[in-house]
């Protein structure tokens, strides 16, 4: 097992860069962080729509969330892979389509988490803001959202863990992230799949386990400091 790591470690970390595209673990992390960052504002909008006044906007948001949750991520990836280049008119790197798919998928789930954070705040917060004469936007952006988002930080970190795991699906559409690179190493080596996939599993394990420990630590710290519901997981 050690020989494999010794021989391929650079490939696993950054792919074929600088001779080719960036790949490997670096690619996995870039895809994951970019996805999370792009998802975040979208998720906030969804959460606002779902916790706001009933109407067209809320119905669309609800429809979006229920539909996305009814589709496997893989199907969404296939759609993005074909539909995005068609929509924007020119071919685009597969990594970009992977990010689009993950963003759409996670907007639904992260939106759910943030919505739970909003409804978990004591009702008195909104009432106090109204009593001060604040309108909807200042109430939301200065009082409700800051608290809600702080309370769901553990949930956000948890979703990052999920996104990192979901990025592995990029290997199916030939995105050069960690799993794809490993698959290539496997076809090269042929006789050592157990070690190769063992290493792959171990890398994800270390990464995700560390993040989940961080999530637990964050949950404890935040619970002791804030009122309202601390959200860690998307409700099924």
């Amino acid at each position: 097992m050690l020989e494999i790591i010794q021989e391929y470690w650079l490939l696993l970390l950054i792919g074929e860069y600088p001779h080719g595209k960036l790949g490997g673990l670096a690619m996995t992390l870039i895809i994951s962080f970019v996805s999370l960052i792009v998802t975040f504002p979208c998720a906030v909008l969804i959460a606002l729509a779902r916790t706001g006044k009933p109407g067209i906007v809320q119905s669309i948001a609800n429809g979006f969330v229920h539909s996305v949750r009814a589709i496997p991520l893989l199907m969404l990836i296939f759609w993005a892979y074909f539909a995005v280049p068609m929509i924007i008119g020119f071919p685009i790197d597969a990594a970009f389509t992977l990010i689009v798919a993950i963003v759409i998928y996670q907007t639904a789930y992260l939106g759910e988490i943030i919505a739970a954070g909003i409804t978990g705040l004591p009702k008195g917060q909104r009432e106090a803001a109204a009593a001060l004469g604040l309108g909807y936007i200042p109430t939301m952006f200065r009082i409700i959202l800051p608290q809600a988002i702080f309370n769901v930080i553990p949930g956000i970190v948890n979703q990052l863990t999920t996104i990192i795991k979901e990025s592995s699906l990029g290997s199916i559409i030939a995105v050069s992230e960690l799993s794809y690179v490993m698959l290539q190493v496997n076809s090269n080596e042929v006789t050592k799949p157990l070690q190769i996939f063992g290493i792959l599993a171990a890398v994800y394990f270390v990464l995700c386990f560390a993040l989940s420990q961080a999530t637990n630590w964050l949950e404890r710290r935040i619970s002791s400091r804030r009122t309202g519901q601390v959200v860690v997981e998307a409700v099924a």
Binding site: H66, S67, R69, A70, I71, P72, L73, L74, M75, F78, W79, F82, A83, M86, T161, I164, K165, E166, S168, L169, S171, I172, S179, L183, N186, T191, K192, P193, L194, I196, F197, G198, L200, A201, Y204, F205, L207, C208, F209, S212, V235, A236
Partner: protein, 232 residues
Amino acid sequence: MGYQFDFGKVLQGEYLELILEGLQATMVVFVFSWVIGLVLAVVLTVIRAVEFKPTQFLVAAFVEYHRNVPMLIQLFVWYFGFAVVLPDAVNDYLNDLGAEIGYAIVALALNKAAYMSEDFRSGLRSIHPAQMEAARSIGLTYLGAMCWVILPQAWRLALPALLGQTLILFKGTSLAAAIGVAELSYQARYIEEQSFRIFEAYGIATAIYMLISFAIMWLSSILSKRYELRVK
């Protein structure tokens, strides 16, 4: 752009057959993984409940592995990795039988067992210890108390989470395509490659997934309400 929709082409003849075969494979993987996963989850929960540190650690390690490694990679470990462990003769025999679907079921079942056992465990932990006291006070044995008082509450408490895992499992069957199981998304991609009817092929597969997912979600909300445990 000028894309001509032609659903008819996909919904007939051999393509329709492929879709139905894909759906069948999806359901086979789903049902088998679910049943095996559930039974295994109960076993794991019981093992973990016994106050013996080594077995508790093993179960915890099992759970953490399956929660932190992507489902796709778990499939790869079984399909690529485990096959090497078996002797060649066994491998040839299994491959003739259609081994991929077996590996998919094993991988998904073990993964779900890990998540579901955590849900059971959390259900058990949320029961107030006074319930056990009350049950023993009327003269029930430990086993009797578990059977008639504790476990009936535990599964009701775990039910919403278990139903959530059921939906996740159903959608997770799509990953079996990566190891060559000819389930629904695999067939959709195949049809798309053959006929270039991207929107029709993926559209129909997506619609089928959504239909079944909505059915699962609807059933879940009915069952959750019916068996909700109100503790006052």
